[in-house]
Amino acid sequence: MLKRFWSWFWFIVGATYFLVPLYATFDFSLRARRGDLSFAAYANVLNDIRFVESFWFSLQTALATIAISALVIVPTAYWVQLRLPRLRPVVEFFTLLPFVVPAVVLVFSLARTYSRTPLTDSREGLWVLLVGSYVILSFPYMYRAVDTGLRSINIHDLTEAAQSLGAGWFTILARVIFPNVYVALLSGAFITFAIVMGEFTIAALLAQPAFGPYMNRLASSRVYEPSALAIISFALTWAAIAALQWIGQGSQARVAGPR
């Protein structure tokens, strides 16, 4: 089959393009000892307690970001589609704005805006700012993903069906809309997850013990460890995302049916 052939062709082109740079990084990371391939750099990374701590911290931050982003974006996308279609360009503009507002500007503006509030006086408060900023960064991806997801279900009828059964807006969102855009949400969540795991500037300037700053610190001072870390973090992030995907699989089957 010709179609199959081209599919495999493009898949292999894509896979090569993606994997060769990773392989090159991997290859380099093994050369910490002269004339010898070794996992020394990996050992150094994994033995560093800060690696584990910061990864764990960012993991939690990522999950919080995804949760909040979903809570903001799903109702918005739903409502724009249901009642305010004319607002779509405006919402789209705001969701794309994070691309062009430099992170440095963003973080210092936030620090100024919330200076002398509890938000800037404690690590916990700063964490709130951090998550808030990350939620903003997740908007471009989350909005698009959810918007696509909502298009694939008949939200008008589902809404009215739920209403006629006595459901209020909250119930409709929580019980009907959310579960049905869950799968679409996942793809947005993947990207958000990866963003948060790698983000550096905001976390560093808000004094957060995140994974991004840790990686960056290592990158500027060490030779082989950064490459090892890149491989490890790539693998870990991929694993985490695959886990998310796996968790979502059940509901995917339910909503979409077997394909």
């Binding site: 380099f28 050369r31 910490a32 000892r33 002269r34 440095v104 973080v107 210092f108 503006s109 620090a111 100024r112 200076s115 002398r116 800037t120 006086d121 404690s122 690590r123 408060g125 700063l126 500037t201 560093a204 300037l205 808000l206 004094a207 700053p213 960056n216 610190r217 990158a219 500027s220 001072s221 060490r222 030779v223 082989y224 950064p226 490459s227």
Partner: protein, 385 residues
């Protein structure tokens, strides 16, 4: 202490501010709050070093910014400090921050008490005066204040030089057989695609200094950095200049076999990779330029006593030797060498430079930086495709 903290003064006091007041109020970020009263000027004012330690213990925290572990041996510096004062919880803010970002961090967090507000900064030489004028610093004079050369400190104690280095060629000798010895060597065809800066000359101090140092080696002077730009233009046209930021990893990989970095960074990297990658560090014969960085305490430092304790540690014999171990020449180097406080093996490890080291003044630095930064894109980067 400082009578002319212009930006923090009420808007009505100066005419220009008054004219722009409505727009500024409506749109510009709010004026900075007045800083709290500055802390004690010396350890003695604080009631002695013991008292200072007590107060620092009560504060319990210290936030530093822009101190990379591998930079001037700051990794060891931080570690030793914390070992000595284990009650301090240290916040290592954005180690990669630029000087402008450090200043911005003070401004943005003025009035905030959280760990994101830096207590102390380590900035390029001219930033000391700028920040002082903006009222962002508070004065402090460490115990060994007098041993810091006069030209390298603010008389009122708002800022003080910490260490300096000179521009060097860091060469991966596995890739480069003939090690270049001077600026002019870099133009040789054999170094095609091999020379890299360690940053962007429109922003990075290290990169700007490299250009300036090249000027000194090519007929320029501290007041005339233009030959440096001309040199890099030639280097670029010859295809020798690589538009990539040199990092330890790219040097090791051989992709940027000749990197222009501070000698202390280059030497530290050489040591770190000893036994795996052969690295040579060469201080060019001509054009040895000292890059001086300064320390200061933020006017808004939420932990002013911990900040002072940090300063005392930096300028103690122990702190100064830690810098020296990282090949950065500390401010008290001359005084300590005279006093015989520097172990011979440390001295032996320092690179030998024949060339006289040029120390620019603050004014020269400002002018040169401004000139290089704004002309780089047009003179060297003009070959935009």
């Amino acid at each position: 202490a400082c009578g002319q903290a212009a930006p923090t003064a009420p808007a009505a006091t100066t005419a220009p501010a008054a004219t722009t007041a409505p727009a500024a109020e409506a749109t510009a970020p709010a004026q900075l709050p007045s800083p709290p009263a500055p802390g004690p000027l010396t350890a003695a004012d604080a009631g002695g070093i013991e008292k200072l330690i007590e107060r620092a213990r009560a504060e319990g925290n210290l936030s530093t910014i822009a101190l990379p572990d591998d930079w001037a041996n700051y990794g060891e510096m931080k570690q030793k400090f914390l070992e000595k004062y284990p009650f301090i919880k240290h916040e290592d803010l954005n180690p990669d921050a630029s000087s402008a970002q450090e200043i911005e961090a003070i401004k943005a967090n003025a009035g905030s008490k959280g760990p994101q507000a830096p207590d102390v900064i380590d900035v390029g030489f001219t930033w000391g005066d700028t920040a002082k004028k903006e009222g962002l610093l508070q004065p402090y004079k460490v115990e060994k204040w007098d041993e810091i050369p006069e030209t390298l400190k603010d008389p009122e104690g708002f800022w003080y030089a910490d260490y300096y280095g000179v521009m060097a060629f860091e060469v991966n000798t596995q890739v480069v057989q003939n090690i270049p010895q001077d600026w002019s060597d870099l133009l040789k065809p054999e170094y095609k695609g091999q020379v890299a800066l360690a940053g962007d000359p429109t922003g990075s101090g290290q990169a700007i200094n490299a250009v300036w140092a090249a000027a000194l080696g090519n007929g320029g002077s501290l007041d005339n950095p233009m030959p440096g730009l001309e040199f890099f233009k030639k280097l670029n046209e010859a295809g020798n200049l690589l538009p990539v930021v040199a990092k330890p990893a790219t040097i090791a990989k051989g992709e940027t076999p000749i990197a222009l970095r501070w000698d202390y960074n280059a030497l530290a990297n050489r040591d770190q990779n000893a036994g795996n990658i052969d690295i040579a560090v060469v201080v060019p014969k001509s054009g040895s330029l000292a890059g001086v960085y300064v320390q200061a305490i933020s006017a808004y430092a939420p932990r002013p006593h911990a900040a002072r304790l940090w300063m005392e540690f930096l300028y103690s014999d122990e702190g100064q030797l830690i810098w020296l171990k990282g090949y950065a020449t500390p401010a008290r180097f001359e005084a300590m060498r005279k006093a015989g406080l520097i172990p011979q093996d440390l001295l032996d490890k320092l690179p030998k430079t024949d060339a006289p080291v040029a120390f620019p003044t603050g004014g020269q630095i400002n002018a040169a930086f401004d000139m290089i930064k704004s002309n780089w894109p047009t003179v060297v980067g003009a070959t935009v495709q």
